[in-house]
């Protein structure tokens, strides 16, 4: 699952490239413009490094926090097959978080720093995970919509200019396609089930549709970092372009299920060859980014508890290794 750059843009923090050696900067810009990959030990502008650390670590945090809403249903999956599938999916999300943390670490930040930033509330993660998973249909809707939006975001990032990030994205994309398909399969089963089951599927779509559209981040006019990030090939498409693409692809999938997308303004626009759709509730988006999402507090409590409860294991493993090394040396 993916996060795009979140948070209300702070003009003071918009990437500044002043103060860099002009010759180095020019050579760097030329390499990026030629679609070359930048590797960890290459020279890069400070702002490029900072933007990447923020984006990749947010992305990693989203994968890790993203395990929580689905993990909530592991013990209550309706069959052994669904349970095995969900377990594999949740494990994948953990793996994706690890690929991404490693990619961020190549930029000079440490795992501990990133985790500390998440747990202290300083770092953001995707707003989508601050919504609760109330019924089994939510697991279907998450795979279908949330992973669908994630894939839409991540596919272009396979060509992002920073090599370790691009390589992590290649692996993530390869693995994530099953996530979306298993979710849609759940939706098919529910939409073709009893009237109650179909109503659950519709209810899940109603609750997850708008938060999924929010996953693409603020609208382009409120995303001043986008221009610089696109210039540096950190981003390859704007938020609004990706959001439009997602709507165009997903609406027919909802129609196939016989479900209704909860947007009265949704209408096919023949001239542009895409759907017109209603405005995202940006007040809600920014509120969730600020940490006011329905289950934001629970999510961070669960993360901190897991980290704190595991502290003795991390320390014991290091102590064991130190003792073994000392014995071998003696």
């Amino acid at each position: 699952m993916y996060t795009t750059e979140m948070g209300k843009p702070d003009p003071a923090k918009v990437a500044s490239i002043g103060g860099e050696d002009p010759a180095l900067l020019e050579a760097f810009e030329a390499r990026v413009a030629a679609d070359e990959f930048i590797e960890p030990k290459d020279w890069m502008p400070d702002a490029y490094r900072r933007t990447l650390v923020r984006q990749i670590s947010q992305h990693a945090h989203s994968e890790i926090v993203g395990m929580l809403p689905e993990g909530n249903w592991l013990t209550r999956a309706p069959s052994l097959r669904r349970k095995a599938v969900l377990l594999a999916k949740v494990q994948d999300e953990g793996g994706h978080g690890l690929y991404l943390y490693c990619a961020a670490e190549t930029l000079g930040t440490s795992r501990e720093q990133m985790i500390e930033a998440l747990h202290s509330g300083k770092a953001k993660y995707s707003t989508i995970f601050n919504y609760p998973t109330l019924t089994w249909a939510d697991i279907g809707a998450i795979g279908w919509l949330v992973d669908g939006a994630a894939i839409m975001n991540q596919v272009p990032l396979q060509r992002t200019s920073y090599g370790p990030y691009a390589r992590a994205m290649v692996k993530v994309c390869k693995e994530e396609s099953f996530h979306q398909r298993q979710g849609y399969e759940i939706m098919i089963a529910m939409a073709n089930g009893t009237p109650e089951q179909k109503a659950m599927a519709q209810d899940a779509l109603n609750r997850w549709w708008w938060p999924s559209l929010m996953m693409f981040g603020p609208s382009d006019e409120n995303s001043p970092n986008t221009a610089q990030s696109m210039r540096w090939r950190i981003k390859r498409d704007t938020n609004d372009e990706l959001r439009q693409k997602f709507v165009d692809i997903t609406v027919p999938q909802a129609e196939f299920l016989g479900l209704t997308v909860p947007d009265p303004d949704l209408v096919w626009n023949e001239a542009k060859g895409g759907y017109d759709f209603g405005e995202v509730d940006w007040e809600e988006f920014y509120a969730v980014v600020r940490g006011e999402g329905p289950v934001a507090k629970e999510r961070m409590e669960a993360r901190r508890k897991a980290w704190d409860d595991g502290a003795w294991v991390r320390e014991a493993a290091l102590a064991h290794e130190a003792k073994r090394t000392a014995r071998a040396a003696a």
Partner: protein
């Protein structure tokens, strides 16, 4: 102080006959756990038949800023490639 477990680079041999290839890294307190973490992180879909882990700190790399002078000497030695040599077309199997 950084209390992270040490970092290990992970290499996977995808099948017999191929070389190990770098796939990413993991944190682990020792080599044995590094192999286990590497298995869980990088081979969940039969990506490999063999794993190597190497402490990241033990890898010595060439300097990317010196890539020009380091690799340039090969550039003007085109006579190291077979296409440099002109052989009449009627000569076969060479």
């Amino acid at each position: 102080m950084n209390r992270d477990w040490p970092l290990w680079e992970v290499f996977v041999r995808s099948r017999g006959g191929l070389s190990h290839k770098h796939v990413g890294s993991v944190h682990a307190p020792d080599s044995e756990l590094a192999v286990r973490h590497a298995r869980d992180t990088y081979t969940r879909r039969m990506e490999g038949v063999s794993l190597w882990v190497v402490k990241s700190a033990d890898i010595v790399a060439s300097d990317p800023d010196q890539a020009g002078p380091m690799f340039a000497p090969a550039e003007d030695k085109v006579y190291r490639h077979p296409t440099f040599y002109e052989i009449p077309p009627e000569v076969k199997h060479i």
